[in-house]
Amino acid sequence: MTRWLLWTLAGIILGGIVHLGTILALPRTASQDAYARLAPITAVNTMTPIPRPTAAKALLPFMDPAFAVAVCRYDLGNGPIKLTAPVSQAYTSVTFYTRRDVAYYGINDRAAGRRTIELYLMTTAQHEAMPEDTEVTAADRLIIDAPDSAGLIVIRALSPEPGLMPMAQASVAAARCATQTQ
Protein backbone atom coordinates (compact mmCIF):
# COMPACT_ATOMS: atom_id res chain seq x y z
CA MET A 1 0.00 0.00 0.00
CA THR A 2 2.74 2.42 1.00
CA ARG A 3 4.56 1.45 -2.17
CA TRP A 4 1.63 2.50 -4.35
CA LEU A 5 1.27 5.71 -2.42
CA LEU A 6 4.91 6.46 -3.17
CA TRP A 7 4.47 5.63 -6.85
CA THR A 8 1.46 7.98 -6.96
CA LEU A 9 3.41 10.74 -5.24
CA ALA A 10 6.23 10.29 -7.74
CA GLY A 11 3.66 10.45 -10.54
CA ILE A 12 2.21 13.72 -9.25
CA ILE A 13 5.64 15.34 -8.87
CA LEU A 14 6.69 14.13 -12.32
CA GLY A 15 3.35 15.39 -13.67
CA GLY A 16 4.14 18.85 -12.31
CA ILE A 17 7.49 18.79 -14.10
CA VAL A 18 5.79 17.69 -17.33
CA HIS A 19 3.29 20.56 -16.94
CA LEU A 20 5.95 23.23 -16.47
CA GLY A 21 8.09 21.73 -19.22
CA THR A 22 5.29 21.74 -21.77
CA ILE A 23 4.20 25.31 -20.87
CA LEU A 24 7.76 26.60 -21.29
CA ALA A 25 8.42 24.59 -24.45
CA LEU A 26 5.16 25.44 -26.22
CA PRO A 27 6.13 28.86 -27.67
CA ARG A 28 9.19 27.21 -29.25
CA THR A 29 7.29 24.34 -30.79
CA ALA A 30 4.03 26.03 -31.84
CA SER A 31 3.77 25.61 -35.60
CA GLN A 32 0.75 27.89 -36.03
CA ASP A 33 1.88 30.95 -34.10
CA ALA A 34 1.59 34.42 -35.63
CA TYR A 35 5.14 34.40 -37.05
CA ALA A 36 4.58 31.03 -38.73
CA ARG A 37 1.27 32.22 -40.19
CA LEU A 38 2.83 35.41 -41.55
CA ALA A 39 6.02 33.82 -42.90
CA PRO A 40 4.53 32.38 -46.14
CA ILE A 41 3.06 35.72 -47.29
CA THR A 42 5.85 38.08 -46.23
CA ALA A 43 9.33 38.54 -47.68
CA VAL A 44 12.22 39.26 -45.33
CA ASN A 45 12.87 42.95 -44.64
CA THR A 46 9.98 44.09 -46.83
CA MET A 47 6.79 45.76 -45.71
CA THR A 48 3.76 43.66 -46.65
CA PRO A 49 0.17 44.89 -46.19
CA ILE A 50 -1.99 42.25 -44.50
CA PRO A 51 -5.51 41.69 -45.85
CA ARG A 52 -8.26 43.00 -43.62
CA PRO A 53 -9.82 40.25 -41.48
CA THR A 54 -13.31 39.17 -42.52
CA ALA A 55 -15.69 36.59 -41.12
CA ALA A 56 -14.72 34.24 -43.94
CA LYS A 57 -10.97 34.67 -43.76
CA ALA A 58 -8.51 36.10 -41.28
CA LEU A 59 -4.78 35.50 -41.29
CA LEU A 60 -4.52 35.81 -37.51
CA PRO A 61 -7.17 35.42 -34.81
CA PHE A 62 -8.30 38.42 -32.75
CA MET A 63 -7.23 41.03 -35.32
CA ASP A 64 -8.88 44.42 -34.83
CA PRO A 65 -11.02 44.93 -37.98
CA ALA A 66 -10.90 48.72 -37.55
CA PHE A 67 -7.20 48.75 -38.40
CA ALA A 68 -5.19 48.55 -41.60
CA VAL A 69 -2.10 46.45 -40.93
CA ALA A 70 1.27 45.96 -42.59
CA VAL A 71 4.01 43.62 -41.42
CA CYS A 72 7.77 43.63 -41.86
CA ARG A 73 9.38 40.29 -41.06
CA TYR A 74 12.87 41.39 -40.20
CA ASP A 75 16.24 39.75 -40.12
CA LEU A 76 19.06 41.87 -38.74
CA GLY A 77 21.74 39.50 -40.05
CA ASN A 78 22.79 41.97 -42.76
CA GLY A 79 22.74 45.06 -40.61
CA PRO A 80 20.31 47.39 -38.81
CA ILE A 81 16.90 48.18 -40.24
CA LYS A 82 15.41 51.57 -40.85
CA LEU A 83 11.67 51.81 -40.54
CA THR A 84 9.66 54.72 -41.90
CA ALA A 85 5.91 54.94 -41.56
CA PRO A 86 3.75 57.92 -42.45
CA VAL A 87 1.37 58.93 -39.69
CA SER A 88 -2.23 58.36 -40.72
CA GLN A 89 -4.99 60.86 -39.99
CA ALA A 90 -6.37 59.15 -36.92
CA TYR A 91 -3.95 56.89 -35.14
CA THR A 92 -0.86 54.92 -36.11
CA SER A 93 1.19 52.56 -34.01
CA VAL A 94 4.31 50.48 -34.52
CA THR A 95 4.84 47.29 -32.51
CA PHE A 96 7.94 45.12 -32.41
CA TYR A 97 7.56 41.40 -31.76
CA THR A 98 10.21 38.74 -31.26
CA ARG A 99 10.28 35.57 -33.34
CA ARG A 100 8.17 34.08 -30.51
CA ASP A 101 5.51 36.80 -30.71
CA VAL A 102 6.51 38.66 -27.54
CA ALA A 103 5.67 42.36 -27.93
CA TYR A 104 8.89 43.92 -26.66
CA TYR A 105 8.30 47.47 -27.84
CA GLY A 106 5.33 49.51 -28.98
CA ILE A 107 5.05 53.17 -29.86
CA ASN A 108 2.24 55.33 -31.23
CA ASP A 109 2.27 58.39 -33.44
CA ARG A 110 1.94 60.82 -30.52
CA ALA A 111 4.95 59.35 -28.73
CA ALA A 112 6.95 59.26 -31.97
CA GLY A 113 5.98 62.89 -32.45
CA ARG A 114 6.40 63.69 -36.15
CA ARG A 115 4.47 63.40 -39.36
CA THR A 116 6.56 60.35 -40.17
CA ILE A 117 7.60 57.71 -37.67
CA GLU A 118 11.27 56.95 -38.20
CA LEU A 119 12.90 54.18 -36.20
CA TYR A 120 16.12 52.21 -36.32
CA LEU A 121 16.12 48.61 -35.20
CA MET A 122 19.38 46.87 -34.41
CA THR A 123 20.84 44.16 -32.25
CA THR A 124 22.72 45.17 -29.12
CA ALA A 125 25.99 44.23 -30.85
CA GLN A 126 25.21 46.46 -33.86
CA HIS A 127 24.24 49.30 -31.54
CA GLU A 128 27.53 49.02 -29.68
CA ALA A 129 29.44 48.86 -32.97
CA MET A 130 28.02 52.22 -34.09
CA PRO A 131 30.75 54.88 -34.34
CA GLU A 132 30.61 57.41 -31.52
CA ASP A 133 30.16 60.48 -33.72
CA THR A 134 27.18 59.11 -35.62
CA GLU A 135 25.64 58.41 -32.26
CA VAL A 136 25.96 62.09 -31.41
CA THR A 137 24.65 63.43 -34.72
CA ALA A 138 21.83 60.94 -34.46
CA ALA A 139 20.85 62.01 -31.00
CA ASP A 140 17.29 62.54 -32.09
CA ARG A 141 17.13 59.24 -33.91
CA LEU A 142 15.01 56.66 -32.22
CA ILE A 143 17.05 53.47 -31.87
CA ILE A 144 15.46 50.26 -30.68
CA ASP A 145 17.50 47.33 -29.46
CA ALA A 146 16.16 44.03 -30.74
CA PRO A 147 16.52 41.12 -28.32
CA ASP A 148 17.00 38.77 -31.27
CA SER A 149 17.97 39.07 -34.92
CA ALA A 150 14.58 37.89 -36.22
CA GLY A 151 11.06 39.06 -35.50
CA LEU A 152 8.13 41.11 -36.72
CA ILE A 153 7.39 44.82 -37.00
CA VAL A 154 3.66 45.53 -37.25
CA ILE A 155 2.30 48.91 -38.40
CA ARG A 156 -1.32 49.57 -37.56
CA ALA A 157 -3.40 52.51 -38.76
CA LEU A 158 -6.88 53.10 -37.42
CA SER A 159 -9.83 53.73 -39.68
CA PRO A 160 -12.26 55.48 -37.29
CA GLU A 161 -15.14 54.73 -39.65
CA PRO A 162 -15.43 52.24 -42.54
CA GLY A 163 -15.22 54.96 -45.20
CA LEU A 164 -11.73 55.93 -44.06
CA MET A 165 -10.30 52.42 -44.44
CA PRO A 166 -8.76 53.09 -47.92
CA MET A 167 -6.82 56.01 -46.41
CA ALA A 168 -5.58 53.91 -43.50
CA GLN A 169 -4.58 51.17 -45.94
CA ALA A 170 -2.72 53.64 -48.15
CA SER A 171 -0.94 54.94 -45.08
CA VAL A 172 0.39 51.52 -43.98
CA ALA A 173 1.15 50.58 -47.58
CA ALA A 174 3.48 53.58 -47.74
CA ALA A 175 5.52 52.33 -44.76
CA ARG A 176 8.98 51.00 -45.52
CA CYS A 177 11.46 48.79 -43.76
CA ALA A 178 14.88 48.21 -45.28
CA THR A 179 18.34 47.11 -44.29
CA GLN A 180 20.40 50.21 -43.77
CA THR A 181 23.49 50.61 -45.87
CA GLN A 182 25.88 53.18 -44.53
Binding site: G15, A55, A66
Partner: protein, 192 residues
Protein backbone atom coordinates in the same frame (compact mmCIF):
# COMPACT_ATOMS: atom_id res chain seq x y z
CA UNK B 1 8.11 -6.99 -12.31
CA UNK B 2 6.47 -4.99 -9.55
CA UNK B 3 9.04 -2.27 -10.15
CA UNK B 4 8.15 -2.19 -13.84
CA UNK B 5 4.43 -1.96 -13.21
CA UNK B 6 5.01 0.73 -10.58
CA UNK B 7 7.22 2.77 -12.89
CA UNK B 8 4.75 2.42 -15.76
CA UNK B 9 1.92 3.54 -13.48
CA UNK B 10 3.97 6.55 -12.37
CA UNK B 11 4.76 7.59 -15.95
CA UNK B 12 1.18 7.25 -17.14
CA UNK B 13 -0.03 9.22 -14.12
CA UNK B 14 2.63 11.91 -14.72
CA UNK B 15 1.70 12.24 -18.40
CA UNK B 16 -1.99 12.47 -17.59
CA UNK B 17 -1.51 15.07 -14.85
CA UNK B 18 1.13 17.07 -16.71
CA UNK B 19 -0.51 17.21 -20.14
CA UNK B 20 -4.00 17.50 -18.71
CA UNK B 21 -3.12 20.48 -16.56
CA UNK B 22 -1.29 22.14 -19.47
CA UNK B 23 -4.34 21.71 -21.67
CA UNK B 24 -6.63 23.12 -19.00
CA UNK B 25 -4.29 26.06 -18.37
CA UNK B 26 -4.16 26.94 -22.08
CA UNK B 27 -7.85 26.59 -22.82
CA UNK B 28 -9.12 28.25 -19.65
CA UNK B 29 -7.34 31.56 -20.03
CA UNK B 30 -4.91 31.15 -17.16
CA UNK B 31 -2.27 33.78 -16.49
CA UNK B 32 -0.87 36.14 -13.93
CA UNK B 33 -1.47 39.82 -13.32
CA UNK B 34 -5.06 39.88 -14.55
CA UNK B 35 -6.87 43.19 -14.13
CA UNK B 36 -10.54 42.31 -13.62
CA UNK B 37 -13.13 45.07 -13.85
CA UNK B 38 -16.70 43.81 -13.90
CA UNK B 39 -17.02 41.34 -16.73
CA UNK B 40 -13.86 42.66 -18.37
CA UNK B 41 -10.38 41.30 -17.86
CA UNK B 42 -7.08 42.56 -19.21
CA UNK B 43 -3.47 41.52 -18.92
CA UNK B 44 -1.48 44.64 -19.69
CA UNK B 45 1.73 42.70 -19.09
CA UNK B 46 1.00 40.57 -22.17
CA UNK B 47 2.04 43.58 -24.20
CA UNK B 48 5.50 43.69 -22.67
CA UNK B 49 8.67 41.57 -22.66
CA UNK B 50 7.65 40.56 -19.12
CA UNK B 51 4.70 38.42 -20.31
CA UNK B 52 4.16 35.36 -18.11
CA UNK B 53 4.85 31.84 -19.48
CA UNK B 54 1.19 30.82 -19.40
CA UNK B 55 0.06 33.77 -21.50
CA UNK B 56 3.00 33.23 -23.85
CA UNK B 57 2.02 29.61 -24.38
CA UNK B 58 -1.65 30.52 -24.89
CA UNK B 59 -0.75 33.23 -27.42
CA UNK B 60 1.59 30.88 -29.31
CA UNK B 61 -1.19 28.30 -29.46
CA UNK B 62 -3.84 30.64 -30.84
CA UNK B 63 -1.50 32.54 -33.19
CA UNK B 64 -2.63 36.00 -32.11
CA UNK B 65 -0.38 39.04 -31.74
CA UNK B 66 -0.85 40.81 -28.37
CA UNK B 67 -1.37 44.58 -28.18
CA UNK B 68 1.86 46.20 -26.97
CA UNK B 69 1.67 48.42 -23.91
CA UNK B 70 2.99 51.45 -25.86
CA UNK B 71 0.09 50.97 -28.27
CA UNK B 72 -2.83 50.15 -26.01
CA UNK B 73 -4.52 47.59 -23.84
CA UNK B 74 -7.17 44.95 -24.62
CA UNK B 75 -10.04 44.02 -22.30
CA UNK B 76 -11.89 40.76 -22.92
CA UNK B 77 -15.39 39.78 -21.76
CA UNK B 78 -16.54 36.17 -22.02
CA UNK B 79 -19.47 36.52 -19.64
CA UNK B 80 -21.85 39.22 -18.50
CA UNK B 81 -21.61 40.97 -15.12
CA UNK B 82 -23.35 38.05 -13.41
CA UNK B 83 -20.96 35.49 -14.82
CA UNK B 84 -23.34 34.16 -17.44
CA UNK B 85 -21.61 33.10 -20.68
CA UNK B 86 -22.31 35.51 -23.54
CA UNK B 87 -24.91 33.99 -25.83
CA UNK B 88 -25.52 35.31 -29.34
CA UNK B 89 -29.16 34.31 -29.21
CA UNK B 90 -29.77 36.74 -26.36
CA UNK B 91 -29.93 40.49 -26.22
CA UNK B 92 -26.97 41.88 -24.26
CA UNK B 93 -26.56 45.53 -23.40
CA UNK B 94 -23.16 47.13 -22.87
CA UNK B 95 -23.52 50.53 -21.29
CA UNK B 96 -21.56 53.07 -19.36
CA UNK B 97 -18.31 54.89 -19.86
CA UNK B 98 -14.76 53.88 -20.60
CA UNK B 99 -11.24 54.69 -19.42
CA UNK B 100 -9.61 57.72 -21.01
CA UNK B 101 -8.06 56.84 -24.35
CA UNK B 102 -7.53 58.58 -27.68
CA UNK B 103 -9.54 55.85 -29.41
CA UNK B 104 -11.16 52.60 -28.51
CA UNK B 105 -12.73 49.78 -30.47
CA UNK B 106 -15.32 47.19 -29.45
CA UNK B 107 -15.22 43.96 -31.44
CA UNK B 108 -17.24 40.75 -31.38
CA UNK B 109 -15.46 37.45 -32.07
CA UNK B 110 -16.47 33.82 -31.88
CA UNK B 111 -14.74 31.60 -29.30
CA UNK B 112 -11.77 31.03 -31.66
CA UNK B 113 -11.13 34.72 -32.30
CA UNK B 114 -12.75 34.78 -35.74
CA UNK B 115 -15.12 37.55 -36.78
CA UNK B 116 -18.76 36.55 -37.04
CA UNK B 117 -20.63 36.86 -40.35
CA UNK B 118 -23.84 38.91 -40.33
CA UNK B 119 -26.11 40.66 -42.78
CA UNK B 120 -24.80 44.11 -41.88
CA UNK B 121 -21.13 43.10 -42.13
CA UNK B 122 -20.54 44.87 -38.84
CA UNK B 123 -18.15 43.27 -36.38
CA UNK B 124 -17.64 46.15 -34.02
CA UNK B 125 -17.59 49.85 -33.31
CA UNK B 126 -14.85 52.39 -33.00
CA UNK B 127 -15.18 55.17 -30.42
CA UNK B 128 -15.91 57.59 -33.29
CA UNK B 129 -18.80 55.60 -34.65
CA UNK B 130 -20.80 55.21 -31.44
CA UNK B 131 -23.94 57.22 -30.89
CA UNK B 132 -23.60 58.73 -27.44
CA UNK B 133 -25.77 60.20 -24.73
CA UNK B 134 -25.31 63.84 -23.80
CA UNK B 135 -23.01 62.98 -20.92
CA UNK B 136 -20.72 61.02 -23.27
CA UNK B 137 -21.80 57.60 -22.05
CA UNK B 138 -23.06 55.08 -24.57
CA UNK B 139 -25.14 51.95 -24.90
CA UNK B 140 -24.46 49.14 -27.37
CA UNK B 141 -27.03 46.39 -27.90
CA UNK B 142 -25.50 43.07 -28.90
CA UNK B 143 -28.39 41.10 -30.34
CA UNK B 144 -29.27 38.66 -33.13
CA UNK B 145 -31.95 40.96 -34.57
CA UNK B 146 -31.82 44.64 -35.50
CA UNK B 147 -32.15 47.17 -32.68
CA UNK B 148 -32.32 50.95 -32.76
CA UNK B 149 -29.19 52.84 -31.74
CA UNK B 150 -25.85 51.09 -31.57
CA UNK B 151 -26.65 47.56 -32.71
CA UNK B 152 -23.87 44.98 -32.81
CA UNK B 153 -25.23 41.89 -34.59
CA UNK B 154 -24.29 38.46 -33.19
CA UNK B 155 -25.23 36.49 -36.28
CA UNK B 156 -27.04 34.18 -33.88
CA UNK B 157 -23.88 32.33 -32.77
CA UNK B 158 -24.13 30.41 -29.53
CA UNK B 159 -21.01 31.78 -27.87
CA UNK B 160 -19.07 34.92 -28.50
CA UNK B 161 -16.34 37.05 -26.96
CA UNK B 162 -16.25 40.84 -26.71
CA UNK B 163 -12.93 42.67 -26.89
CA UNK B 164 -12.52 46.36 -26.06
CA UNK B 165 -9.17 47.80 -27.07
CA UNK B 166 -8.04 51.18 -25.79
CA UNK B 167 -5.39 52.93 -27.81
CA UNK B 168 -3.07 55.61 -26.46
CA UNK B 169 -4.31 55.23 -22.91
CA UNK B 170 -2.90 55.57 -19.43
CA UNK B 171 -4.38 52.19 -18.46
CA UNK B 172 -1.48 49.81 -18.17
CA UNK B 173 0.62 47.58 -15.98
CA UNK B 174 0.22 49.93 -13.00
CA UNK B 175 -3.60 50.11 -13.20
CA UNK B 176 -5.19 48.38 -10.23
CA UNK B 177 -8.72 49.61 -9.66
CA UNK B 178 -11.96 50.42 -11.41
CA UNK B 179 -11.60 54.06 -10.38
CA UNK B 180 -8.68 54.33 -12.79
CA UNK B 181 -10.38 52.33 -15.54
CA UNK B 182 -14.20 52.53 -15.47
CA UNK B 183 -15.52 49.80 -17.76
CA UNK B 184 -19.07 49.57 -19.12
CA UNK B 185 -21.51 47.09 -17.62
CA UNK B 186 -22.56 43.97 -19.53
CA UNK B 187 -26.15 42.83 -18.94
CA UNK B 188 -27.97 39.95 -20.57
CA UNK B 189 -31.62 40.54 -21.38
CA UNK B 190 -34.23 38.50 -23.19
CA UNK B 191 -33.21 35.43 -25.15
CA UNK B 192 -34.81 34.27 -28.35
Amino acid sequence: MRLLIGALYTFILAAAIGLGSTWIALTHNTGFGTLQIGAWSARPKNGTAGIDPYSRAAIARTGALPVAIGDGVAFVARTDDKGRTLDGRCETVISGSTPAARFFTLTLYDADGKLVANSLDRQGFTSEELLRNQDGSFEVTVAPRARPGNWLPTGGVERYILVMRFYDTSVGVATRAEREAPMPSVRTGACR
